[in-house]
């Protein structure tokens, strides 16, 4: 599998994604679109495709970083409570600052996400689990505790409708003017790339990393901050995308190894490609209606995840 092929695949998928939808916009009309077609293209199609690309890249790179930080391949922001904590943050803004802007929401979500992630890392250190399968299990339990708390409060305060829209990723509602915050992930991905080598060194484990002169605590904190910020931004703009952060880095690692400097870009590309393909499936499977992309991601993702787990256990 060549890196170039993935990149070309992504470009083809992205362009196709622009021209699939209820309103037919044939690619052959590209240079003489009528007013309505042009409006749809700029108002919804381009925002949707762009946010899919960014969200896919962000989710898989966040997973990659979490895996290095925890030294565990089956961990991602959706399985260690980062996402659930961010959701708790959003609930808090709904309760106490109902008129808060999307930016304020993201900031509060970020604070909660980072705190939740730090708490999980602290738990992990305290428990010093020997079995690698226990780490994601602990994370999922931890996330579920926070998630149930969110559901409980939301239910009591009759916010359950509002909060459930944050539960699953949804790109159908992405329109010009309310998704641009997701662009913030792009500089975050660049920062992640700049820290790729130190992050890989921290993935060697605390003792080896310190022996190599790495400021282990600082690099861990930087990694978690990147992940928490990226997760919050994705959550408030499009919602949660399960499994992406685990399966994409694991597949890429099989072909290209774990030197993050070498694999970060291709992990991002593969994440975008996977998500755009899932979205295309979601849009055509019951055409002219569409199912939520999260559903497709969950079905494909969980199958691949179980396969990876099974392979991991039998190694």
């Amino acid at each position: 599998m060549k890196k170039g092929i993935l990149l070309i695949g992504l470009m083809i998928a992205a362009v196709s994604s622009l021209f699939i939808g209820v309103h037919s916009i044939p690619i052959t009309d590209l240079f003489h679109l009528n007013v309505q077609q042009e409006f749809i293209l700029w108002q919804t199609r381009i925002p949707r495709t762009v946010s899919l690309m960014i969200a896919g890249a962000t989710a898989s790179v966040s997973g990659l970083i979490m895996q290095h930080l925890t030294q565990n391949k089956f961990v991602s922001p959706t399985t260690v409570g980062t996402m659930d904590s961010a959701r708790l943050g959003i609930l808090v803004t709904m309760l106490y600052f109902p008129t808060a802007s999307i930016l304020t929401r993201s900031v509060v979500a970020f604070i909660f996400a980072l705190t939740g992630t730090l708490l999980f890392m602290w738990l992990l250190q305290k428990m010093s689990l020997k079995n690698p399968i226990m780490v994601p299990l602990l994370g999922i339990m931890f996330g579920n505790v926070i998630g149930s708390f969110v559901t409980f409060i939301a239910y009591k305060k009759q916010l359950i409708q509002n909060i459930s829209t944050w539960l699953e990723g949804n790109f159908a509602t992405v329109t010009k003017g309310d998704y641009e915050l997701i662009y913030l992930s792009v500089p975050l991905l660049i920062v992640a790339y700049l820290y790729a080598y130190p992050l890989t060194v921290s993935g060697l484990g605390e003792d080896l990393a310190i022996n190599l002169g790495l400021n282990y605590r600082l690099v861990q904190l930087i990694g978690m901050t990147i992940v928490a910020l990226a997760s919050s931004v994705t959550l408030v703009t499009v919602g949660t995308l399960p499994f992406l952060g685990i399966i994409i880095p694991n597949i890429i690692s099989v072909y290209y190894g774990d030197q993050m400097k070498e694999t970060l870009a291709i992990t991002a590309v593969a994440g975008s490609l996977f998500l755009i393909l899932c979205d295309i499936i979601a849009r055509v499977v019951i055409f002219p209606y569409e199912v939520s992309v999260s559903l497709i991601v969950s079905i494909l993702g969980s199958l691949i995840f179980i396969y990876l787990l099974w392979k991991g256990v039998n190694k």
Binding site: Q71, N72, K73, P132, Y197, P198, T200, V201, G203, L204, G205, E206, D207, L208, I210, N211, L212, G213, L214, N215, S253, V254, G257, D258, Q259, K261
Partner: protein, 252 residues
């Protein structure tokens, strides 16, 4: 390297008790002693992996806590007893991490030269492009040591590095360490399980028991029946063969 009044307590149990040591520069010093004596704990404190409760440790005249992380990593390298890496990396990639303190990942010509040299020193030329998760325990151990070597430090601390090695590689590694001391003037501190390796290759021996240093002397002075019997609380035969002392320690 000076160690002054260094102690470490875990839950009221003093596992290292006011240790005072002066380790000779450009020598190979072996730490021996029964399990739980505090050897690993002391090494971890010497390399700042573990905070000491009290006392001072000096290398090249400076207390280790005054060093910046990167500066210390250029002076002193440590390989702990067990290392677990669950990453898909090639042997060369892992050894390249040894250059991190110098180049932060942007490898220079000089870095590449030292990486190849380290690979060659440990006989890893043929394995350089293999994945580390495909290696045997002993091969992996040599890769770690090559990484430490690529770090090019004056002080090298190794905690039971022979554990996964068969006799031939264990002997080879000890010869490599001897060469590092004799040819490159490095100071090597190594925890050894097997006192015969200490007896054959070390310049000096530190014997530890119950958190204390009970002997520290040149090898010939420590490899003596009364010393070893007391240290390990068993009956050890010391015999001489081809000018070297050997110990027989099978309980009858």
């Amino acid at each position: 390297m000076y160690i002054q009044n260094v102690s470490k307590t875990y839950r009221q149990k003093e596992v290292v008790q006011e240790v005072n040591l002066k380790l000779s520069e450009h020598k190979l010093t072996a730490f021996i002693g029964p399990n739980g004596a505090g050897k690993s704990t002391l090494l971890s404190m010497m390399s700042r992996l573990l905070e000491k409760d009290c006392g001072d440790i000096y290398i090249s005249g400076n207390e280790i806590t005054t060093f910046k992380s990167k500066e210390l990593a250029k002076k002193l390298a440590i390989l702990k007893q067990s290392n677990q890496i669950d990453l898909v990396l090639t042997v060369r990639e892992l050894v390249s991490f040894g250059r991190f303190p110098y180049s932060q990942g942007r490898l220079t010509e000089e870095d590449h030269r030292l990486i190849e040299e380290a690979l060659h020193y440990l006989g890893l030329d043929n394995l350089a492009d293999r994945q580390i998760n495909e290696l045997s325990g002993g091969q992996l151990q040599r890769v770690y040591i090559a990484m430490i070597l690529a770090q090019d430090t004056d002080y090298i601390l190794l905690d039971e590095p022979l554990n996964n090695l068969d006799m031939s590689y264990a002997a080879q590694l000890m010869k490599v360490l001897r060469r590092l001391v004799d040819e490159k003037g490095k100071t090597v501190v190594i925890v050894l399980h097997d006192i015969n390796f200490a007896s054959s290759y070390a310049d000096e021996i530190v014997a530890m028991k119950a958190g204390q240093v009970v002997y520290h002397d040149i090898t010939e002075q420590v490899i003596q029946k009364p010393v070893l019997d007391e240290l390990y609380e068993m009956n050890i035969q010391v015999c001489e063969l081809a000018g070297k002392r050997f110990c027989l320690y099978f309980n009858e």
